[in-house]
C-alpha cells in the first residue's frame, strides 16, 4: 500500500512542518516514507508545497505527480493542485481562506474550516494541525497518537503549552468527522 500526498499553501502556513510530521509518523509506524519539499527560488513569492509518500514497500519516486491526497491551505494552491489529484482522490481544503469551490467531480472534496478552528483555539498558525487531524481521520493512514508523538519530535524546542495546543488542534481536526 502506497499513499502519495501533496500539501500546499503560503509560506508561514506550516506546510513543510506538516509534511515532516506526517513522515515522522510514518516512520514511527514502521512504514517507508519520503518527504520532498519545494525549494529554492520556488519559495520566493510566498507559496510552498511538499510531497509525502507513505508506503509499506520501499518508496520508488519521492516526487508525487498524481497524488492520492491533496491538502490545500490557500487559493493559489487549490488552482494548482486540484487538477493533479488522482481520480477518486481526496481533496482537503482550507475553507476559511479559500473562497473558490473545487470543481472536479471524480474526487472526494473535504472542506475544513482550518483557520477558523485554529483561531478559535487562539492561534491561526496551527491551522495545519487541524488539517492533519482531519486528514488522518478520513483516511486512517496514520494513528492520531503517532501524529501527536511526531509533532513533538518536530517541535522539540517548543514550549509545553505550544505542544499541547498542537495536540488539541489535531484533536479538533480529528473530531470533525
Amino acid at each position: 500500500m502506497t499513499t502519495e500526498i501533496i500539501i500546499s499553501g503560503f509560506g508561514g502556513q506550516g506546510i513543510v512542518s506538516s509534511g515532516i510530521i506526517l513522515s515522522h509518523a510514518g516512520l514511527y509506524e514502521s512504514k517507508n516514507v519520503t518527504f520532498f519539499p519545494s525549494y529554492g527560488a520556488e519559495m520566493r513569492g510566498g507559496t510552498a508545497n511538499c510531497s509525502v509518500v507513505i508506503s509499506t514497500e520501499p518508496v520508488a519516486s519521492p516526487i508525487v505527480a498524481t497524488p492520492d491526497i491533496v491538502i490545500v491551505m490557500n487559493e493559489p494552491s487549490l488552482t494548482r493542485f486540484e487538477p493533479a489529484l488522482k481520480p477518486k482522490g481526496l481533496l482537503f481544503y482550507n475553507k476559511t481562506l479559500i473562497k473558490s469551490v473545487p470543481k472536479r467531480e471524480d474526487i472526494t472534496i473535504i472542506p475544513v474550516e482550518a483557520n477558523a478552528i485554529a483561531e478559535e483555539l487562539g492561534r491561526g498558525r496551527i491551522a495545519n494541525m487541524v488539517m492533519l487531524g482531519a486528514m488522518i481521520k478520513k483516511t486512517t493512514i496514520l494513528k492520531l497518537e503517532t501524529l501527536k508523538r511526531a509533532q513533538r519530535k518536530r517541535f522539540s524546542r517548543a514550549s509545553d503549552e505550544q505542544l499541547s495546543l498542537n495536540d488539541r488542534a489535531l484533536d479538533r481536526g480529528y473530531g470533525l468527522f
Partner: protein
Amino acid sequence: MAEKKLMYGNHAIVEGVLAAGCRFFAGYPITPQNEIPEFMSIRMNEIGGVFIQTESEIAAINMLFGAAAAGKRAMTSSSSPGISLMQEGISYIAGADIPVLVVNVVRGGPGLGNIAPAQSDYFQATRGGGHGDYFTITLAPNSAQELYEFPKIAFELAEKYRNPALILADGLLGQMMEPVEFSYKPFDPETLPEPPYALSGCKNRERRIVRSYDLKPGKLEAWNWQRQKKYEQIVANEQRFQATACDDAELIIVAYGTCARVCDAAARMARAKGYRVGLLRPITLWPFPSNILSALAEKTDHFLVVEMNMGQMVDDVKLATECSKKIFFHGRPGGGVPTPPEVYGKIETILGGAR
C-alpha cells in the same frame, strides 16, 4: 540495527562525511545543496573540524587541494555551475594524484538552468570535464541511506588510488527526507595514518613536493602512462552496480540515482503485467560497470537507458554491450524527472503492446 533517523539527503551526506573522518569542508552556497554547507557549518563547529565558506567554487576546490595535499580527508560540495568552475582545479588535483571528495548535487542545465533535479553532468563527471587525460571515480547514490554511506567508500577509493572521487547526486536526493540508519562506526580522524605524499613540514624526512607539472621532456608523458595503469586497475577492480531481476529479463533498464528509483517503480508495474523486466543500476559511473552489462548482453535482447538528461550514458551502455543490442532511451533534460508510468509506457512500446 541502529535506529533510523528521518533526514534530508543533504544532511545525510554531512553525517556520512563526518563519520568517514573528514574534518575539512570548503564550499560556496548553491541550490539545491545549500543544506550541506549549512549543516556542515554547525556540525564542524560541534566536533572541531574546519568549515570554510569560500569566496567561490574555485577557491573551494583549491582549498581542498591544499588540505588534501596536507594529508587530510577533505571535501567540497556544489551543484552544476559551481562544479564547472572547479574543472581546472580538479584537473590539477588529478594531475597531482591527490585524493579529495567532490559532491555534485546536479541541477537542470545548461547555464544557470534551474534548480530542479537532473543528471546532465554525466559526461563531465565520467570523462573529465577538465583538460588532460584523467578520470574521477564517480559514485551515484540513490537514497539518503547511500548518501550517508558513500562518502566513506569514496574517500577509501580516492585514497587507495590517489585520485579525486565524485559523488553525483541530484536536487531530488539532496532535498528529500528519508529514514537513515547510521550503519557504521564513525572513524576517528586521528587514527588515519599520514599519507606518504602529505605536506606537513620536512622534519626528520625528505622534503616533499606536490605538483601536477613536469616540463622535462618525456617526464609528463611517463607520468601519464603511470596514471593510466592506475586507471586500468580501477576499471578492473572497482565496478559497482545493483542488479535486480536481471537474470531472465527480456528487457533490462539501465538507470542510476533518482532515475533508478523511478525505474524500479516502473519495473514493478511492468512485472505486475507479466513483462520480465530487470533493472541494472550502475553505482560507479566511472568505472562504468561494463563487465556485468557485457555479460547481460549475452542473454538479454532489450536495453532501455533512462536518464534525467539527453542520453549521456547511452554511449557507455553501447560500448559495454559492444553495440550488439539496440539500446532504447528515455530521458528528460533540463530538470524534468521521468515518472514511473512514463517509463512503463516506454517498456510496453518496446516489448510490443500490452500483455
